[in-house]
Symmetry: C2
Subunit: 396 residues, 2 copies
Amino acid sequence: MRLLADEGITYPQGYRAAAVHCGIRKKALDLALIVSDRPAVAAGLFTRNRCCAAPVIVARRHLGSKSVRGILVNSGNANAATGAAGIHAAERCLKETARRLGCAPAQLLVASTGIIGVPLPVERIIDALDELVANLSPANGARAAEAIMTTDTFPKQRACSVALRGGTVRLGGIAKGAGMIMPNMATMLAFITCDAQIGRTRWQRILRQAVQLSFNRITVDGDTSTNDCVFGLANGASGVAVDREEEHTLYKALEALCIELAQLIVRDGEGATKFVTVVVEGCRRVREADAIARTVANSPLVKTALTGCNPNWGRVIAAAGRAGVAFDPDRLDVYFNDVLTVKNGCAAGVSKAVLDELFKQKEITIRIVLHEGRASATIWTTDLSHEYVNINVAYS
Amino acid sequence: MRLLADEGITYPQGYRAAAVHCGIRKKALDLALIVSDRPAVAAGLFTRNRCCAAPVIVARRHLGSKSVRGILVNSGNANAATGAAGIHAAERCLKETARRLGCAPAQLLVASTGIIGVPLPVERIIDALDELVANLSPANGARAAEAIMTTDTFPKQRACSVALRGGTVRLGGIAKGAGMIMPNMATMLAFITCDAQIGRTRWQRILRQAVQLSFNRITVDGDTSTNDCVFGLANGASGVAVDREEEHTLYKALEALCIELAQLIVRDGEGATKFVTVVVEGCRRVREADAIARTVANSPLVKTALTGCNPNWGRVIAAAGRAGVAFDPDRLDVYFNDVLTVKNGCAAGVSKAVLDELFKQKEITIRIVLHEGRASATIWTTDLSHEYVNINVAYS
């Protein structure tokens, strides 16, 4: 299945999008609307951050609606740590949008990304809604991808077709990365559209599973945001129903789309100079493999070694050892891009020249094998460069 | 109780120390020996890293000895990820040292700090032992503090006296910080000497408690080393026995000494521009307070905000919210140096000018109050500066 790079959320039938500059950010597009022409079933996954933002609270509530018509999203302001006023602000924006679309406010989802703790400039958003709704078009999917960017250096969209027995269905998606605004909160947003006919429960189930193996497998700096969310709409506009047997086919396409968008987020991670895959195998439990992979991926020492093209594998085993997982260090093997570098917990005798060359690669897979069981986990991540610090020490 | 800055491990009676350059590092002192003239009871705490180093394995075993005579420590090589050969190397060094001191090898503890995965240059160490033993003197405590440094920018030693009913006892200590060598593994070592008469079990208990509230409350980059250890010797040379009633008096002095040494490590943390205290109060459980304090202290976004003197309190509440602890975000208060900045989860209305001034301070206390219970925890940490990245991306 081929993913299209120049198509996104309006690739599936029956979707339109629009984006405008409403004045939250200085110049860039900062407000987008994604609309399904017909009622769609909606699924959503949210940040587990206890201090979740107002739009997360509102969108979670609206996901209970039988049908959904669209998603309103702004960049430049997270509407987080804004209390009851923040919730009221999000609801007011949806109410005004719903009136213009001729639907109920509860049929709209909302997302925000940007600075925390600053009141959402509701009037600027409402003043821009007429223009936003007027601009809704299948041609504007890429503009929506642009409007959700913060410190992202490129917009992220992908789409694909899936041939089912009843015909072809389409999937599209946009995402924004673990970036800062002004510079502020790392926030990950992704919106997926689909024109298949599928029930709400099944759509939610396959989206959850796909997110688990894609967006939940990435880390740039370990800082889970207050605003993370992934929404998926399925509007049935293709006229193709997805039966239980074919659900897996649709799922695989959705998974591939989500993995690609997730990896784009990592590639565009703040200050990233490398794309790093951490694979942990041979664990007793998946959650143990996951814990080790995340600890290695988030280790500042491993990350800075990667930035410096420094084949310092000791940092990898030290990070693995502090992940809170019981294992026998004398059976630990570590591969860098398939070169066995640590065997039974000791140097495997790879020459410095070979290691130096390995660590110069832009894409590095660190594979850690514990020989304790059969569970495994993969995490995609970046390094920790001067540029990451540059971006995040700056105030405005 | 006053801590002396120009005294260290040879301040208590009956201890001598020596340090030499044996050739593991290029120029600096890299081998030290601390000896008690009489048999001492020994206590030790070790890294919980699964991939612990050979000296950790050997020292843990020797701590079972009824009495201990000394500690051999090298910098420049961690003797970690070196397998059975590493254990044999550590044992050989101790055997040769014991022969020269006229004690059993099991009466010596061993510690190493430096690069991981490189065989310990045993011959260089053994060749230096005659000179090392010849130099043993009560005057050389400061040289030992110097010999355990890696990327530390200053040696760390403190000492104090404690008046008990039976007379005065003394405590001394040295420590090295979370630095890299060549540049490699963050390693924290600390050695405490005492001339009180105290039983091994009680000495171990009060040392464990003091470490829990000092060295275990600091983090520079969250990367627990393979080699961390704290050893404490109590040799009774003062002739003053510590009875059960006075144990607490000795404990408080030991705790103060350990806290001071731990804070020195943080102040000398790699690239540190700030000394940061994170206090979390009002939790249901201490481990919950601890989890939040550590998550905030290790958050790259909080750390870079501190480096940039950027009063971005949103990053603090976002980090608190992702610590895996259940709490009501609408009751969360956050103070920076006693200024209430976040009240009930929202901005408390402190002016930007006041916040900017606060964040310029070199010492910042972040106090997070949850109002869920009465448990609290404190963590001391640093920021994340360009210099941290500089130090850790470099290869050699």
